[in-house]
């Protein structure tokens, strides 16, 4: 009875992205929180490590990658949950909208917000807080954007398993915290228990943080950097596809 999802329609994707951004525009407080909070937190961190600027460099760079991942995860999981519970998702899927259009639209809209957020946080870190980056700060932005996409993808995916906003918010510690602990932010990964190191090898955030550190310590683009961003991008794409599979045209 159902046919294969139609190929991506650029016009519908763009319309969806514009709609998501328009919704955000009616919520200025959320925009302010999205843009200002990372800057404030990274400033806080700078003065926490007041006597050890070297520590700030490595942790600060990692956080520049982790902020967009966490915020986009939260924003997307709530936004898509609302789309599911308000009936607008059912309405859209009863229209000639492809699932890919909806997901790409969300990824595009939140990706744009993430670029803005990362530009602000990176600029303040590098120029005002003296974050010492050996490589190009633009590469930091590339990693941050991919992290944001990964966050959007994860948020979209877990929203399928949440039936309330309470549950959706609780998925944040469940999905993000283990990765945060194992990504090498607190201890280098090769100093962890071998079992944990093996686990961290398959968690995408480990590569997000490693990518940031590659830029931090190398002038040139390293092979490891390419590997890192490919893995993060691949994971984001994979989870987006899984997320698409959770959007059902027909439900009980």
């Amino acid at each position: 009875m159902s046919t294969a999802a139609p190929a991506l329609s650029t016009a519908r994707t763009l319309a969806t992205a514009a709609r998501v951004l328009r919704q955000l525009r009616h919520d200025p407080r959320t925009i302010a929180l999205l843009l200002v909070l990372p800057v404030l937190l990274i400033t806080l961190l700078r003065y926490v490590f007041d006597s050890g600027p070297g520590t700030f460099d490595s942790i600060g760079a990692s956080l520049l990658g982790i902020f967009p991942l966490i915020t986009m995860f939260l924003v997307t999981s709530i936004a898509t949950l609302r789309e599911r519970t308000s009936g607008t998702l059912e309405r859209l899927l009863a229209m000639p909208l492809g699932k890919g259009d909806l997901i790409a639209g969300y990824a595009l809209a939140f990706g744009a917000v993430a670029v803005l957020q990362s530009v602000l946080a990176t600029a303040v870190s590098v120029w005002a807080l003296g974050l010492d980056v050996v490589g190009s700060p633009w590469l930091l932005l590339v990693v941050a954007l991919l992290d944001a996409l990964l966050g959007t993808a994860l948020g979209l995916f877990v929203s399928a398993f949440a039936t309330s906003e309470f549950q959706a918010v609780q998925f944040m510690p469940a999905v993000i915290f283990p990765q945060l602990l194992l990504c090498g932010l607190f201890t280098p990964r090769d100093q962890m228990h071998p079992a944990l190191e093996a686990v961290s090898d398959v968690l995408p955030m480990s590569y997000a943080v490693d990518g940031m550190n590659q830029v931090l310590t190398h002038t040139d683009i390293t092979a490891d950097f390419y590997r890192d961003i490919l893995i993060v991008a691949g994971c984001a794409l994979l989870v987006l596809c899984l997320g698409a599979a959770t959007l059902r045209r027909r439900t009980g």
């Binding site: 009875m1 159902s2 046919t3 139609p6 329609s9 016009a11 519908r12 319309a15 969806t16 514009a18 709609r19 328009r22 919704q23 009616h26 919520d27 308000s86 009936g87 607008t88 059912e90 309405r91 859209l92 899927l93 009863a94 229209m95 000639p96 909208l97 059902r248 045209r249 027909r250 439900t251 009980g252």
Partner: protein, 260 residues
């Protein structure tokens, strides 16, 4: 009269042995019915009798549907009929953090994408807002509207693509008598002027009198499929409500006889 219109065109909806299972409960039990094109068909019955499930099956968002169900000549939910069917759920499904016009602009862009159709979209949006009498609230945030206004926004979205079949799940619940009358007038003008087929559910029996044809439902079965006049005459009742009660008693009596 009804037979002649049926002969001229194929049915808008045609169901044979339509069965829907939700969990371990059979919600619709082998229904056979047709919906005539260009007419208003009322789907009436107490709440919980399966009206919403039937409508969800017609628009193609219900899972576990067996039997045959053809909508506008195609299997229900087929990609080719998706933009020819308008559907309004019981709860208004619009974005409360967008204005009325922004809501309609987005759904119009989904139905008719592309820059080339911008003028057509604007026209469709303005017309839909006018149809549901919300022109004065077009720039208001949907979240700030009253319940009745919000459900009219939802209806306006369904009217956007000039659908050939309009499926409305209890569109008049919670509306004041004036608005209810206005909406029914709108349904009638849609059917007579634009030739739209309207399938509308209600659990308020007095709305039945405004339909061309009725499907009376109870416990996942269709008790009667007839015109309001014919129903009243057949059961010797003064109102459709009495006719419905008569049919319920009759069905209970036959059931008792068969089990005896």
């Amino acid at each position: 009269m009804m037979n002649s219109s049926r002969a001229t065109g194929p049915s808008a909806v045609e169901a044979r042995a339509l069965t829907v299972v939700r969990g371990d409960r059979t919600v619709l039990r082998g229904l056979d019915f047709t919906v005539e094109p260009g007419r208003i068909t009322g789907l009436l019955g107490p709440s919980g009798c399966g009206k919403s499930t039937l409508m969800r099956a017609v628009v193609g968002s219900q899972a576990k549907v067996t039997g045959t169900l053809h909508v506008l000549g195609r299997p229900a939910g087929h990609a080719a009929v998706r933009n020819r069917v308008g559907y309004v759920t019981q709860a208004p499904s619009v974005y409360t953090d967008l204005t009325v016009r922004q809501n309609l602009d987005y759904f119009a862009a989904v139905l008719l994408p592309g820059r080339a159709h911008r003028a057509a979209r604007e026209e469709a949006v303005t017309r839909a807002i006018g149809d549901v009498d919300l022109a004065s609230h077009a720039e208001a945030l949907a979240g700030n509207l009253s319940g009745g206004q919000l459900s009219r926004v939802s209806l306006a979205v369904a009217l956007l693509g000039t659908p050939e079949l309009l499926v409305l799940d209890e569109p008049t619940v919670g509306l004041d008598p004036v608005l209810r009358r206005d909406l029914w007038n709108l349904f009638h003008s849609l059917a007579t002027e634009r030739g739209t087929t309207v399938l509308v559910s209600s659990h308020v029996m007095d709305e039945a009198e405004r339909c061309h044809r009725l499907l009376l439902m109870r416990d996942g079965e269709i008790l009667a499929d007839d015109t309001p006049d014919a129903l009243r005459t057949r059961t010797g009742s003064a109102t459709v409500e009495d006719a419905f009660l008569h049919l319920v008693d009759e069905a209970a009596a036959t059931r008792q006889e068969t089990t005896r």
